[in-house]
């Protein structure tokens, strides 16, 4: 009995991964074949980009502030508070900026994509679209996918900048240290590999958020209760995958840059 359950669960998992892979491949490849729905892309870019700006700026600012507070307390034990700026900028740009932005945008947009598309599925709007001869993956998923990837790239840059600003606020006004020193160490410590690492990660996070959000939305079943389930699955799985992808990418990029 227990073996049956394990067998069934394993098959379901493999089946889901297979479905997701095909779904994500189709959504991505649609960009290279007409028709392309640019108005939908712009609408989604506005919803994802502009709509998420406030939460990304706030979370970036306060995360930078917390980093400065925590690091200053530790660094002062070694008389090294002068490198607070370096610590904050490297941590924000290499790790926290991309991951935090990904998780925040996932909470806001993977859920909205799953619930919106899920509602369309249960009210037969997706079937209606197919019956009208329009490919819902091309019309609904591909614009969300590329809007999310491109907007997450810029949102991450904003989060990094506001994180460093948050750190400077704490350094200058709370720790009463020199602002010029903070910014100069923050700037001088940065190398191209750090920046590249920080800007490659959001491309993957954006792909994960939109593809998982849309995938769970499009496979919704079971009425309004099913929409709720899809929304939870989309947020949980995309958030976990962002962190897993971050770990793998860090490993790959560190190996790559150390070998250059």
């Amino acid at each position: 009995m227990a073996l049956d359950t394990v067998d069934r669960t394993a098959k379901q998992l493999v089946h889901t991964v297979q479905d997701y892979s095909l779904f994500a491949y189709r959504a991505a490849m649609n960009l290279f074949r007409p028709p392309r729905y640019w108005p939908e892309f712009l609408v989604q870019a506005d919803i994802i980009g502009w709509g998420s700006t406030s939460i990304v700026l706030l979370s970036g600012f306060f995360t930078g502030g917390v980093l400065a507070l925590q690091s200053a307390a530790t660094l002062s034990a070694f008389g090294a508070t002068a490198i607070t700026g370096r610590f904050v900028s490297l941590t924000m740009i290499r790790e926290l900026g991309p991951v935090l932005t990904g998780v925040m945008v996932s909470g806001r947009n993977a859920s909205s994509m799953a619930s919106e598309l899920g509602s369309m599925v249960v009210t037969e709007q997706i079937d209606a679209m197919r019956a009208l001869g329009v490919d819902p993956i091309r019309k609904l998923v591909t614009p969300r996918l590329f809007a999310c990837i491109s907007m997450l790239f810029f949102l991450t840059i904003l989060a990094d900048a506001f994180g460093i600003l948050g750190g400077s606020f704490v350094t200058i006004f709370m720790n009463h240290q020199d602002g010029t020193q903070y910014f100069s160490t923050a700037w001088e410590s940065l190398r191209y590999p750090d920046v590249i690492q920080g800007l490659v990660k959001p491309l993957f996070s954006g792909f994960i958020i939109a593809s998982i959000g849309c995938f769970y939305g499009m496979r919704t079943s079971g009425g309004t209760e099913g929409v709720g389930r899809s929304t939870i699955d989309a947020v949980v799985i995309s958030s976990v995958l962002i962190i897993v992808a971050d770990f793998l990418l860090t490993q790959v990029l560190l190996s790559l840059f150390s070998s250059l």
């Binding site: 037969e124 709007q125 209606a128 679209m129 197919r130 019956a131 009208l132 001869g133």
Partner: protein, 289 residues
């Protein structure tokens, strides 16, 4: 807004005696042909061994109790679902193994009216009805004209700029009919267009189905579990001069309107209304009574 039309309410029409059996013969070039189709979803078969055809200008009324697989059969017709067994021909094309991308152009030749209308919430009635035309980049002036024509057909011209949320259930179905008709499809699929509606609104919808059948002669499959709707379609015709449906002379029925009945996933009846009322099948008798 008033849901009723100017037409008279049809009585509980029952067909009179018919001189000859009008059961459909084999059709040379069917619009739709099912051959031994079966489908299941993680359990026992929903449909099995389904075979029937829809000919040019023919209206097939699919009867059966709720949950018997009527909507599934309709979704198989235009490839929204794929069968596990058998073959389905749509406009002469085998669609059971056809890739989804090749099915899209084929589906544009059909119109489908969903059970609850399935209008796009975020679009106005104009954009809903013109959905295909907008995708084809038809000029705005032409879109407006054709949308107004389609809305006039369903007597809802005043809803042009409204959103679906502000429409009643019956109006949504009528807008869905307008959306299905705007490109003058070669096949219409109606999925319980009167389900959950009051009798007056149901009659309005059935009158529109009849108008489409008698004015444009588009072949169609209509799913319903309401016998009165089915009998009304058989025993009435749309009078274009009077702009309403009128009963056919006593004893006459529409020869192009025939019946299919499903029981537990199997097709148990395929024939004319006269064959239906004379059928000795216990399930058919129980359904009729």
């Amino acid at each position: 807004m008033n849901e009723t039309s100017a037409s008279a309410q049809p009585g509980p029409a029952q067909p009179g005696p018919m001189p000859q059996n009008t059961a459909p013969a084999a059709i040379a070039n069917p619009i739709v042909a099912f051959r031994n189709v079966a489908i299941a979803f993680d359990g026992p078969p929903v449909l099995q061994d389904i075979s029937f055809s829809v000919g040019p200008e023919e209206t097939r009324i699919l009867l059966g109790p709720a949950g018997v697989g009527k909507s599934v059969l309709l979704k198989l017709t235009n490839g929204l679902l794929r069968p596990d067994q058998g073959s389905i021909l749509l406009f002469g094309n085998e669609i059971t193994t056809m890739p989804e991308q090749k099915l899209f152009p084929l589906r544009t030749r059909t119109g489908m009216v969903f059970q609850e209308g399935a209008l796009f919430d975020s679009l106005t009635v104009r954009d809903n009805v013109a959905y295909q035309l907008i995708g084809e980049r038809v000029p705005d002036d032409e879109i407006d004209r054709r949308v107004r024509d389609a809305l006039r057909f369903v007597e809802l011209e005043e809803t042009f700029s409204l959103y679906p949320a502000s429409l009643s259930g019956g109006m949504r179905r009528r807008v869905a009919i307008a959306r299905a008709l705007i490109r003058q499809p070669e096949l219409l699929l109606y999925d319980s267009p009167t389900g959950g509606l009051d009798p007056v609104t149901s009659t309005t919808i059935i009158e529109l189905v009849m108008k489409e059948r008698d004015v444009y002669r588009t072949p169609s499959i209509l799913v319903t579990h309401r016998l009165q709707d089915a009998f009304t379609l058989c025993t009435h015709r749309f009078d274009a001069e009077q702009g309403r449906m009128v009963p056919l002379p006593k004893g006459q029925t529409d020869p192009n309107t025939t019946f299919l009945m499903l029981e537990e996933g199997r097709l148990i009846f395929d024939g004319s209304i006269h064959d239906l009322v004379r059928s000795q099948n216990p399930f058919v008798r129980e359904f009729l009574e």
